[in-house]
């Protein structure tokens, strides 16, 4: 796992509400932006995290940017490509 910048929620295989709670908590603690990141099959859950956070819990927060890219990962059987997504939410003052 690479170092994460502040206010990043990295979405993996846990239940989606764990990540929703992490996002909402960061905004409640005063964050202006929160980045939701995921790779591979967790990408769907990252989109769920953003949508549930925005539709059910956050007021005055919108999507700022969505970026998809390909990352090269080292595995036991060599390098492999994996898709990734970064969804950036921003609090509108």
């Amino acid at each position: 796992m690479q170092p994460l910048r502040e206010n990043t929620v990295f979405v993996g295989n846990k239940p989606v509400m764990n990540y929703v709670l992490a996002v909402v908590t960061q905004f409640n603690n005063g964050a202006e932006e929160v980045a939701i990141k995921a790779r591979g099959k967790a990408i769907s859950r990252a989109v769920d995290t953003a949508e549930i956070s925005l539709n059910r819990f956050l007021v005055g927060v919108t999507k700022k940017d969505i970026v998809i890219s390909t990352e090269i990962i080292d595995t036991d059987s060599g390098k492999t490509n994996v898709s990734s997504i970064e969804i950036i939410l921003i609090h509108n003052k």
Copy 2:
């Protein structure tokens, strides 16, 4: 399944290369834009489709826009929410 607009590839549960081939074929047939759409767990495969098409097969094509949203689906057990993604690729003249 709702009617799809022209030049839309709807990504489901088939192998990703099926959808990559559909995208590449549409551009080869002269499409200026192709929209890649998916819902739920297929969202990850839609991102893979876009990344593989752009990195390995398409020249002069870039991402124009990425939109995520929540759709309400009727099921046997009532209405349920599902996340969706639309990735729009554009051919730069």
